[in-house]
Amino acid sequence: MAFPGIGIAKGMAVTFRNFFTPKVTRQYPEERPPIPDRWRGRLDLIYNPFGEHKCEVCFQCAQVCPVEAIDMSGFDSQGNRIRYGMPEIYDERRDPNAYRRAGLAARPMRNPARWDEEIDPPFVDEVVDGFDGRPEALVAIFRAVQDRYGYLPERALRRISDRMSIHWAQVFGAAGLGGFRLLPATGHVVTVCDCASCRFAGGDRVLRAVQELLGIRAGETTPDGRVTLETRPDVGAGSISPAIRVDTLVYGPVDEAKALHIVGERLAADGAATPAGARS
């Protein structure tokens, strides 16, 4: 067979011409490809022309996903909120976030010491059922539990989350508001209000005075474990600033002398029943 032939020459002419033709490569990071409107590679939920999500929360995708990558929550036809997904998977992210929403330092909830805390499950169930499991009553439920235990144990919160079918993160976030304690109190708890109006009215002077009296800083407990001092931004209600709270009683407006008097009185009357109402 004769090698130098017309076929080879034609091919070489084609490549020679293409050497001088503009190239078709798209230089990627600088030039992006045009994405068509119907592109299905985007990770977002689609809206219908009325502006609502087309997703009907039928959970089919979450159920069929072989790697369980989908987590979702929605309302069923009864109006109950249901969720699909294992909260435990997301614990590493959820718990610190919930702590942050609660105003505490972010750390994982998985404190092994807390997992063995004993709670009384029937009590918690009773409280929840007493309010018919309505989500609006969550704060009242928390208050009842805190009255019983002095703080909100994690296991109780999980039981509430399961029983009411509310996202754990939402429960935990709600527990961070409204003055609920997530950690057991040691001794009496003196809370000095930290909100803007209380500060303007002199709350920092009150705080300093109490700190001097007790000999500890905010966030700490006295060495004998009798008093814990902390600051929260939600103690006062504006018109009674500056306010302090001792255990469950709120006092305000107080000045330094009154605050010291109140705290001293509480320490002296250790173990006595709490009087009702606040003094103005």
Partner: protein, 427 residues
Amino acid sequence: MTKIDPEIRIPDPIELDRLEEERLRTAAGLLPVHAEGGEYAGFDTVGIPDRPPQTEREREVYTLEEGEMLVNMGPQHPSTHGVMRLVVKVRGEIVVDVDPVLGYLHRGIEKLCENATYTTVLTYVDPMDYLSTMHNEHAPAIAFEKLYGIKAPPRAEYIRALVVELNRVFSHGLMMGFLALDIGGLTPILYSFINRDEVVDMLSAISGQRMLFNFFRVGGVNFDTNDEFLSRLGTWRSHVLDNLDMNERMITQNEIFRGRTVNMGRLSGADAISLGVTGPNLRASGVAFDVRKAHPYSIYHELEFDVITQEGGDSYARYIQRIAEIKQSIHLIDQIIDRMPHGPVQAQVPGIIRPKPGRAYGAVESPRGLYSVYAISDGGPNPYRFRMRDPSFISLQAIPKLMPGRLVADTMAVMASFDPVMGGVDK
């Protein structure tokens, strides 16, 4: 103080493993792993299974005569069209026998489809023969529509035919490139990919995806055409024949290419029919069988086209056949665009269809041959049995018949001319 006896030797753990393995193998009746003795022992026996042959064919392939050697064109290979293993028995450079070992890409699609609703099945079949996705979806759509007893609206059928022909164009274009690549030319494949990129951009404008389109639904197609699709279609149509011509000019008359493909892998028409080879491979051997004409489906009875055949049945004929089919598909696309009616693109079907119990068969002409689906329904939301017949699998069975007597270098060239896609072979 412990006395250490210097006479006792603690055996090497690797040595212990080896002894254990020998013991177990002897107990199981298998041949020993390390056959000692002989100058070339261990060299030639690599690749032969270590159990007695279980079929006649296996005995035929794995018995080595004097001077023969087994060469493994293994699953990791730059040009076996996917993961396939070819055990080639060679004497020097001449091939004596070929044994394809398949199944490296098996994903259990048929079984998966038994646990999926009918609409989900259409997404599972996409990655089977990944270069002809639309055909993969067309056949099940036909079968399911027969089961459910509905017909797709005419506009849907026309859109289906349009995208199917577009898919055929780029699949055949890629075959040209792959054949040239396996023979050694580095540039035609890139020209084929330029063409494919344009078509794929077009199809992504209509279906939202670039490769696994998921465009067909039971009862129609998912989306209607939009402006972007039509404008890209027009642009593409205006220069596709020039691109094709540029690619062809590099390959078709090239003496080296012709020397490697003319008279190679000659498959006669009778042999092709008896092996079950279909599609362009069959038509290149002279048999005029095209599913679109023989068992018309969709709207092909309304379109004008002829069945093209070539004489010869060698690799070159298969290559020329595919080029002719590209031109035929472009002609079909022109007719479809002219005749497309208005109307809805999807029939009203519920989200989860539950056809009545029954069986249905749907066959289409895919770029590799006759691709068909046989579905059995038991009245529930999932098919009871979903069986696919893939043309590449059948075409590969022709290789052991064609190769003996040829050189090793021809193995790849002949295989590339059959254009198998391993996704379809292994399902």
